[in-house]
Structure formats: C-alpha cells, structure tokens
C-alpha cells in the first residue's frame, strides 16, 4: 500500500498491514459489499469497482472509491489485486445533498427516459399518486395520466421530445393526474429536457393544485351567486315599483265599482251617478293598461341595438367562456364552424347569453354520461332561406319524454337550484330577432338544441 493509500485509511507509515487490519477500517455495513466485489473480481479475473466507507480512528467517516483488477499469478491459485483507491467523500456529499433536495421537495418530481418510462420519482410523487416508487420505476409515464388522455398522451410527449424548444406543460392548460385508486386531481406540470448520458431525459415537476382550484371554484360560485342575487333583487325592485304604480288605478276601480254596488243596494243609484262611476272605472283601467305598456317599452329598451354579427365569433367566445366549466365537469366542447357564414343582424350580447345558456344546460345534462362520452358540439351553418343556423348537440339525458317543449316554459327546470327562466328567456330573445329556437332528442342519445337568425346583406364587424 502506498503512502497515500495508507493515509486514506488512516494508517501511519510504519504500521504493518494485512487484509484483516484493512478490513477492520471498513465500515461494518459496507464490508460485505466490498468483499463481494473483490471476490467476484478474483473469480472472474476481471475488474472491480466499489464504493464503501472507512471509519478513521478519530471517528471520521470517509467514502472511498476503489477500482482495480485481479492479477493472475500463473498457477491459477494465488491471486493479487492491483488497484487504486480515491477519496470520494466530497462527491458523495454532493450526491447526498442532491438526493435530499429531490426527496425533500414538496412537489412531485419525475424523471422520464427517452422511451417514456419512469426513471426516478421522489417521495412527494409517491404521496401525490398513492404508488410506491417500486411500482412506478420502469412503468410508462401514462400510468399517472387519466385514462381519457392516455391515448393522446404519447403523441404529445413524442412531439415534446422532438421539439427543440421545450415548453412548459400546464401553464395555461388544465391537467389532471390519476392516482393509483383511479381518482383524479388537478395538477400543474413544469417540464424540462435534460441531455443525459443515456439520451434525453424529461424532468417533470408536478404540483397538486386541488386546493387552489377549489378556492377558485368557490370564489367563482360566490360571484355567480352574487350576480344571481342582484338579478333577483333587481326583478323584485322592479316588481315593487310596478305593483305600486298599478295598485293606484286598481284601487280606484275597486272603490268606484264597490261604491256603485252600494248605491244600488241602498236605492240611491241614479243614472248620471252610475255613468260617472263607470267613466272613472274606464279611466283607471286605461291608466293601468298604459302602465303595463310602459313596462314593456322599458324592458325592450334593454335589448339594445342590432348590428351585423358573425355568429362564429360568438361561438368561439362562448367556447372560451365555458372552458373551465367544461373542465370541471370533465367535458369536451367542440365547434364545427362553417367559415363562409353570412352575417346576421343581432345584439351580440343577447345571442351570446342565449348560446351560453344552452351550452351550460348541455354540460349539466351530462352528469350521468361516462366521462369519455361527455362532449358538446356547437355548429354553425348557412341555410338557403337566408338564415344562419346554430346548433348545440350534447350526449346527456335528452329532453323530457312527455311534452318535450315544456323546457321552454317559464319556471320549468330539471336542475335542483334552477330558476327555470333560461330557455324561456332565450326563446323570446331569438324570436325578437326574427329567428326560431327549438329542441329535439338527437339520434344516438342526448339533446339537439338549435336556433336560426336571419342573415343580413352586410358584412359582420
């Protein structure tokens, strides 16, 4: 053993060494490993390389990296080992620190090899997905992806690996992880490519965003409830104001008519008096009619101006608006748009409201539909009668079997907390535009709700 070798094991220059004194310095836990390597090298006359710890007399622990080979002495029995040992403590420490960083990360870390198989996972990944790492290592990464995305995932992954600029998955997208028990949870995934010795590795950092999504959903629901409440409040206020206005002439009618009957009952009625009373009744009835007409005018004012509108852009907006609702319900919203659509004359805000209403109904109708079949298809197409047709097809429970047109009645709702006004208002909006709104059960299940709007000669803005 060289002087440097002696120093490595903490022996001084004069100490007499044999294999037993050397082995005594090796950490008890590592002796078997070291021995196995050496024995194999001797038996195979080959090379060996091992890492093990030595314990110095002062208690210091040192990592040794040893490499060598066995030398055949010729008679095939006596064997010599020739090798070098290096202090690799610093390297080991760095590896250890890295391992601690990876293991200690609160986010799931997954390393995927070029074949899409899992190379490494950390503790957080085990916790997130409910697998032990032994169950994950070597498995396709798709094991962590919900079934309905599994088919498309390898393609997305291949594209990702092939593309030179590595994108960040999950930023702006809504992704889901699948646990061992089949449940899903929303995730955000940061991805980077690592050029490793054995090819390109993909490093994925997975963040569970369940709590954040839940908070978002709660705040959204709160906002919706507020809007709903303020709508109800507005209606109540208007109703009160109209009631007061109407109550005045109604009181007049009641009083005059009652007075007339009393005069007759008491024999005090004469024709001029009764004529005068009836005249007052007619005047009040007319006044009540005027008030109701004024209400209509006021309500109509809210409908706003008609402008040339491209229906496709309204559909695109609605698809964006329902995006998160659709994800929440695990639904896909598709659009099949005719690019050569003539413009229609409409109030875009109202038409958007109608379409939004129909699409939300469609999403709600698919609660019992298997997740893989939850689709809403919004289509647009021109018709020969100078109209544009917009259709919404879902794969939900369909219309009520008896009297399906009831869905357009005010206050008809199949939803537990529905007001039942949506489709009723939608139909009146469409008919005020000179179009038609209808619904029927689609072939192959689900509902098919469609409406038409008259085309204009002008171009849409």
């Amino acid at each position: 053993m060289t002087q440097r070798g002696r120093a490595l094991f903490g022996f001084d220059r004069e100490a007499s060494l044999d294999s037993a004194t050397v082995v005594a310095r090796v950490h008890p836990d590592d002796r078997a490993v070291r021995d196995a390597f050496i024995q194999r090298a001797i038996q195979t006359h080959g090379e060996y390389s091992a890492e093990y710890r030595v314990m110095l007399p002062d208690g210091e622990i040192r990592w040794i990296g040893a490499r060598g080979r066995s030398l055949n002495s010729g008679n095939g029995k006596a064997t010599q080992l020739l090798g070098i040992s290096v202090d690799v403590t610093a390297q080991k420490d760095a590896e250890n620190r890295l391992r601690l960083v990876v293991e200690g990360s609160p986010n799931g870390i997954v390393l995927v090899n070029g074949y899409g198989r899992i190379d490494l996972v950390n503790t957080a990944t085990e916790m997130l997905f409910g697998y032990w790492r032994e169950e994950l290592i070597g498995q396709p990464i798709e094991i962590l992806v919900p079934e309905r995305f599994r088919d498309s995932h390898p393609i997305i992954r291949a594209n990702f690996v092939a593309s030179s600029t590595a994108p960040i998955m999950g930023a702006g997208k809504e992704l889901f992880g699948r646990r061992k028990d089949g449940t899903e949870f929303p995730v955000e995934i940061g991805i980077s490519r690592i050029q490793g010795e054995k090819g390109v590795l993909t490093l994925a950092v997975i963040v569970d965003v369940t709590a954040r999504k839940q908070a978002e959903a709660e705040s959204r629901q709160y906002r919706e409830e507020l809007a709903h409440l303020s709508r109800i409040e507005l209606v109540a206020e208007m109703a009160t104001a109209f009631a007061h206005e109407l109550n005045q002439p109604l009181s007049g009618i009641m009083n005059n008519a009652s007075a007339g009957r009393r005069f007759i009952a008491k024999g005090r009625a004469d024709m001029p008096k009764l004529d005068h009373l009836l005249d007052a009744v007619v005047m009040d009835a007319r006044r009540a009619g005027d008030i109701i007409r004024n209400i209509r005018v006021m309500v109509r004012k809210g409908e706003g101006a008609r402008i040339p509108v491209n229906v496709n852009s309204i559909i695109t907006e609605v698809v964006q608006l329902v995006h998160s609702d659709a994800l929440e319900r695990h639904c896909t919203v598709l659009s099949e748009l005719d690019p050569d659509l003539p413009a229609v004359s409409a109030n875009p805000v109202l038409i958007q409201q109608v379409l939004l209403n129909i699409v939300i109904n469609a999403l709600d109708a698919m609660r019992q539909t298997p997740a893989a079949e939850r689709r809403v298809i919004i289509s647009s197409q021109p018709h020969a009668d100078h109209k544009v047709w917009i259709g919404v097809r879902d794969f939900g429970t369909g219309l009520p079997k008896e009297n399906p047109d009831r869905i357009f009645d005010p206050f008809f709702s199949t939803k537990q907390d529905g007001l039942g006004m949506g489709l009723s208002i939608a139909r009146s909006i469409i008919s005020s535009h000179g179009g038609e709104l209808a619904a029927e059960n689609a072939e192959g299940g689900g509902a098919w709700v469609h409406f038409s709007l008259p085309a204009t000669g002008e171009n849409a803005v």
Binding site: H244, E245, N247, G252, I253, K266, A280
Partner: protein
C-alpha cells in the same frame, strides 16, 4: 250630532284613489273631505269632533307616518286608517304601534275599509266623550275655593275629618262644611266617586308629611 260623528278625511296624492274613496265612503253615508297632502290637511282640516282619517303612507313632502306623529303631538283625536301601495310589515307595525286603527294594502276590499273606518270613528268618539267629560270635571274643580281644593286633596288621601281639621288647624265642623260643598260642587255622592273623579283629571292626593 250623528252626522258630525261620521266625518271622514281622506289624504292621498293620487286623484283617482282620492275621489273614488270619497265616492265609496259617501255610498256608506259618511261625510267626506279630501286633501292631496299632509300639509293641506294640517292647514285646512277642521278639528270639530270624532273623525276618521284615511291616510296614504307614501305622500310627497310630509308622509303619512310623519303626519300621524304630528297629530299625536297636537293631541288631535282623529283615528287613522292607513292605506298603502307598497306597505311592508315593519312599516305596518310602526303605524299600528303608534295607534293606527288599521293598515290596508291597495287595492283593498270595500268592506275592509268601511269596517276599519267605522271602528276608527267609534274609537274617536270614545276619545271625544272622554275629553269632554274631563273638560267638564275641570270646569267644576275650577269653581272650588283654595280651601275647598285643599280639603279635596286631603280627603282623597284617605284622611278622616278629624285628621284634616288638625292638619289645617280648623274646627271639625268647618271641615265638614267644606267637604259637603266639595261633594256638592263636583256632583258626587261618595268618597270613592270623588277619588275616581280626581284621578281622571289628575288631581293628586296631599299626604301630610310628604
């Protein structure tokens, strides 16, 4: 007398409500006067005797509830029946607590209004009678001499003639004379009646040593 007791005032800013109410009340034999505002009512309504005031809650300027307060402060005895185009429960409770006879939402059944008006008139008449009697008692008490008034207060305190005599430093016979005159002037036969009468007009006993 009877005509005067069937007097109804109507205050409502809506012309058709106002005139139709007048007609309805007329059909039931009431004498009706109408006013378009609380201010007009305060300026022009005669304070003649028992009366009912049919009062709209929502009036421009001084509203119905404010007019009710104003009348109470003035000690007027018209009894109020409120009518309203959009009454809520708290508003009705407030009006009733302040002594209204009824609170009717427009449009109301004629019989409901006429019943309320009849009740209001009856209540007002009762107040009217009470007020007139109290006035009469006060007038009679005003005829007592200071000495007789003093004797009255001691008698209603429950003192015997002898005690009153010693309290006032007068002869027993003199006190008996004073006491007889008090009973006679106030038109009562017993000490019990005298006590009741004194209570109605607020004459308090004069307990010696207090």
């Amino acid at each position: 007398m009877k005509e005067r007791e069937r007097h109804v005032f109507v205050v409502d800013d809506d012309e058709s409500v106002r005139t139709s109410l007048a007609t309805l009340l007329d059909s039931d034999g009431y004498t009706v006067e109408t006013f378009v505002s609380a201010a007009e009512f305060l300026l022009h309504a005669p304070n003649v005797g028992p009366a009912c005031l049919v009062l709209d809650v929502q009036l421009p300027g001084l509203d119905g509830l404010a007019l009710q307060r104003r009348l109470a402060e003035k000690g007027r005895i018209e009894q109020i029946v409120f009518i309203t185009g959009y009454g809520d429960i708290p508003m009705g409770v407030r009006a009733m607590k302040a002594g209204a006879v009824d609170f009717l939402a427009k449009p109301f059944e004629d019989q409901a209004l006429l019943d309320a008006v009849a009740q209001a008139i009856a209540r007002s008449a009762e107040h009217w009678r009470e007020r007139r009697e109290v006035g009469q008692i006060r007038e009679r008490i005003a005829t007592l001499t200071p000495r007789e008034f003093e004797v009255l207060r001691l008698v209603i305190s429950g003192l015997l003639n002898k005690q009153i005599a010693s309290e006032l430093g007068a002869a027993l016979r003199t006190i008996k004379t004073h006491r007889g005159r008090v009973m006679h002037k106030l038109g009562v036969q017993s000490v019990a009646d005298l006590v009741r009468l004194a209570q109605r007009v607020g004459v308090s006993p004069d307990l010696p040593g207090t």
